[in-house]
Symmetry: C2
Subunit: 319 residues, 2 copies
């Protein structure tokens, strides 16, 4: 009779983000095998050769930790966008030297006999929320990250929405009425340009607050600093407005919000909910529930692995 | 050997709008059987009893025109929203006396042995564009109507997106940055509050133009009237901004735009395209193509019938 570990199927999860690239084995219950988790730094200076070496090393080391008798069933990759899902290439915005990088082909070359699937990180986060997080079993769900940027992903009708290029889910570049802040995308008044951590801090500083970080802003808010309170009110309102737009368009049931800046204060959520509640005429829009993410820092890895373990939710075409 | 008419399958299409309710038989190629088309007026004074009588009459009269030997395979209903798709009930905004009206059950009672399906009108229009219109075969498509209001519908990954309540597609209540116009939904800066025909006319009048209708505004624009030009510029820009938001969220390929006010001037489209083109950093967003609807006034009926004839595109759950 086989031992439990011999019956376990693992998927490799790989997460490529703006500050780090990480890999780990994840079992079919969404549990990360702790001693298979490895990471290396990334950043604006990352080169294609450096990224290739890092990914090859991480994947190889993670896979070496596969328990004896357990099986490796595939690899899922979540990447900072933009991506081209059909070709498995990525061009992370903050790594100017990394363009059209063949990330899926690289992982495939290390694991030649297994399925390898790639999606943007926001979609993977949403899969993780649906699987083990705050949106378990919610089939009309948006996952969001509010951090240095604002990103997200969508599950509609029980299936992920990747979009033809693989870039669906960019809630950070949905506009918010009454705002006109210039955005790095070329537009104005995008949610990310208003409500990301750095943009909220910048607004507070431009109104006389003297701190520098989101953590300091959280501390100031906790003491009732009036500028910090106004800054969180403003960003929360923008967050709610963008979610209201998304819900009018998509009839969402739940939005699960994580990311470092989402913890600045519970008032961020309350202000967002108040903005949504203004849309009084449409029950289907005001019904949406905003909940804090229930994922740990392992969320991106679990979500990447879900591209394999939860393949039935991954809408066609399966890249 | 059967004659061609004996081989034909028809679906009944029923369209419930703010000014009229209409029914007709539609064949499997998306062609309306002209002499089966009947309509009756609706409006703010419509009562449930009046609507019940009108729908019963229209469905009965249309079905009586079924050619000898042809088969009737089902009925599709497009309705002004909000709707509750799961129960087949409708509460059209501008008919205050008609709430939770059991429209699907009513049609089912007239056609007891056939499948009867109900969706919001914007989704039906989008199915019609995908079938016989400007979005043929485009599997990531938004259909839009710019008229008294602004509505729409979505096909993503080749399947319609109805949403859990049936109200997905409300692009008119997506916000536009830099605008703050109060909206009937309770929000501010919604696309519909800026760019509908009546709102564009109202803006022009508030800036000194003296006409009263969208047709007059179109004529004034054609002669180069500076206020009319600015009014169309403003509404076109708002249209483009809302579409840019939708495309960032959904990675759309094509948006097909119809409705009376969409004909005000080709500049409406040009201004919308210019607003989208500002989002220079994201190729996946600027790739979206805006095209005029290729549907005639039969579009809503064809789209309603498509709920039956094109059932494979209608995402589960099939209400």
């Amino acid at each position: 009779m086989p031992s439990p570990s011999q019956q376990t199927s693992f998927a490799l999860g790989l997460d490529l983000g703006g500050t780090k690239v990480e890999a780990a084995l994840v079992d079919e219950h969404g549990t990360v095998l702790t001693d298979s988790r490895f990471r290396l730094p990334t950043g604006p200076a990352t080169t294609p050769a450096g990224l290739e070496a890092a990914v090859t090393s991480l994947v190889t080391r993670a896979v070496e930790r596969l328990p004896e008798g357990a099986s490796l069933v595939g690899a899922g990759i979540g990447s900072a966008g933009p991506v081209v899902a059909a070709t498995g290439t990525v061009s992370p915005l903050n790594m100017a030297g990394v363009r059209d990088f063949p990330l899926r082909a690289l992982v495939q070359s290390v694991l030649p006999d297994l399925p390898v699937r790639l999606r943007i990180d926001g979609l993977c986060i949403t899969l993780a929320e649906h699987w083990v997080g705050a949106g378990r079993g919610v089939d009309n769900l948006m996952g969001m990250i509010v951090s240095t940027g604002v990103g997200g992903g969508l599950i509609l009708g029980g299936r992920t929405i990747a979009g033809p290029s693989g870039n669906a889910g960019h809630i950070g570049h949905v506009e918010v009425a009454g705002f006109d802040d210039p955005c790095a995308c070329g537009g104005r008044g995008c949610l990310e340009a208003v409500a990301s951590g750095p943009k909220t801090v910048a607004w507070a500083r431009s109104h006389g607050w003297t701190g520098h970080t989101g953590e300091e802003l959280a501390a100031a808010h906790a003491t009732g600093d009036p500028i910090a309170v106004r800054a969180v009110e403003r960003s929360g309102r923008a967050l709610g407005q963008a979610i209201a737009s998304a819900t009018n368009l998509l009839d969402l049931d739940v939005v699960a919000i994580g990311g470092g800046f989402s913890h600045v204060s519970p008032d961020l959520f309350e202000n967002a909910r108040a903005a949504i509640a203004r849309r009084v005429v449409f029950d289907f829009a005001t019904k949406v529930r905003l909940v804090p993410s229930a994922l740990s820092g392992e969320g991106p890895l679990i979500g990447a692995a879900a591209l394999i373990h939860r393949a039935a939710l991954v809408a066609e075409p399966v890249f």
